[in-house]
Amino acid sequence: MFSLEKLVSIIQAWLQSTLRDPWAYVVVCVMVGVAAIALFAILGLMLVYMERKVAAHMQIRLGPNRVGPMGLFQTTADTLKLVMKEGLTPDGADKFLFNLAPFMVMIAAMLILAPIAFAKNFQIWDISIGVLYVAAVSSVAVIGILMAGWSSNNKYSLLGAMRSAAQIVSYELSAGLSILAIVILSGSLKISDIINSQADGWWIIKGHIPVIIAFIVFIIAVTAETNRAPFDLAEAESELTAGFHTEYSGMKFALFFLAEYINIFIGCAIGATIFLGGWMPFHIGNWEAFNHVMDFIPSSLWFIGKTVFLIFLIMWFRWTFPRLRVDQLLNLEWKYLLPISMVNLLVVTLMAIMGWHL
């Protein structure tokens, strides 16, 4: 049966047999880099297409259906259009920061890719502090957004960037706390350990109500951190026209746009890994036959399926809810989500100590 794990080991064995050791590593690094960038491009295109289709169907429309079969190449055509457009830099902008900002956002998004396990034993870097790394790097993106907003020399951009900073810094807390709940339960920060601890059932199932609460808080926080509606105050097109990327055009705008979708993917991938068992198939206690059937489905499909489900959930939010106001946004975090997740963390700790979670 096909699996990414076998593919990796075949490539590795071939490389090690044909090249000497340092060169093999170099080739592996290059391959990983190319694969990551290719993944980004494809993910971006597919997610934009998916968003447009989901939005269209919720809005009783058809969505893109002219370019290619079922409009599949619509996003490719859009990208081509953006590439051909002129990249304008406004007069009075801080040119260096203005041009750097989209890459900052992009690089931050790329960095988080490292510890994500796409399939069984298919992971770029299984760092021992994986979850901590994710939490730390994901807040770097806000620097890019602040840069973009400030250097644009545009008041809408500045307002959008300030909103975004306040928002991401706040929601980082409850996202972190809800991840911490699982770290306590599984006893490890390492992504592979967290996944392996869910071999006998995903945390969302065996963690009872506290983990479900943590999951809900996490989804809300991820929606906020990725600047998605109903928390898209940084862009808020009816208030700030386009927020922090008002002045961007062409490929630089495309990078922001792409980074938004990559961030959604990464947020949802982390959510899927931590709460829904990552690539771990759906197992129920000691039903051997059932578990065996589930194992037959490739682990990469499990991971993709869970992630796409979470992405769909976030898209569903976006196309249903109105936007919050900026003070309500912060109220929600500091008055509701943070106290809830703190109390929840206490309960989870108690659960872990007493061993109730199995």
């Binding site: 169907h57 009783i60 058809l62 569903w316 249903t320 809810f321």
Partner: protein, 156 residues
């Protein structure tokens, strides 16, 4: 008491959000509700009265009903219509006023139907055509009477 209020708010919030999501979810899963019309492939069916542009119907023998009385020109609020008349000598040898050109400037027209209402001999009507876009605005200035056309017998 405070806690009760707090949880009540949380419950109400979540339930109101789920109600909205149920509705959008319903439309997401029920694709038969989609109302998109694929425009150039399926043309919309317009009502008979839909006012798209002014036309002057001609019969098979290239005859129209316009006497050139300029009632429509006077009725038009925008100066859309310009009628140029000429004197024609009819079969009995009498001089008679007839139209030379009936100039209609679509780009000025607001489809208010006042000219059609004003016309005493029903020479002009509104047509259903709505695809008026052209690449050259000069094409929007039209002459409604066809070349070589005559006034219909018996129309005064």
């Amino acid at each position: 008491m405070f806690l009760k209020e707090y949880f009540k708010t949380v419950y109400q919030t979540i339930s109101s959000l789920l109600t909205g999501m149920r509705l959008t979810g319903y439309y997401f899963t029920h694709t038969k509700e989609i109302i998109t019309q694929q425009y150039p492939e399926t043309k919309p069916v317009l009502a008979d009265r839909f006012r798209g542009e002014v036309i002057m119907p001609h019969n098979e023998t290239n005859e129209h009903r316009c006497t050139g009385c300029t009632a429509c020109e006077l009725a038009c609020p925008n100066g859309t219509i310009k009628i140029v008349t000429k004197n024609e000598i009819n079969a009995e040898g009498k001089k008679k006023k007839a139209i030379d050109t009936f100039v209609y400037r679509l780009e000025l027209c607001t489809m208010c139907n006042l000219c059609v209402q004003a016309c005493p001999s029903d020479a002009i009507i509104m047509s259903n055509a709505f695809e008026h876009s052209v690449y050259d605005r000069r094409l929007l200035t039209k002459v409604l009477n066809k070349p070589g056309s005559k006034i219909m017998e018996g129309v005064e």
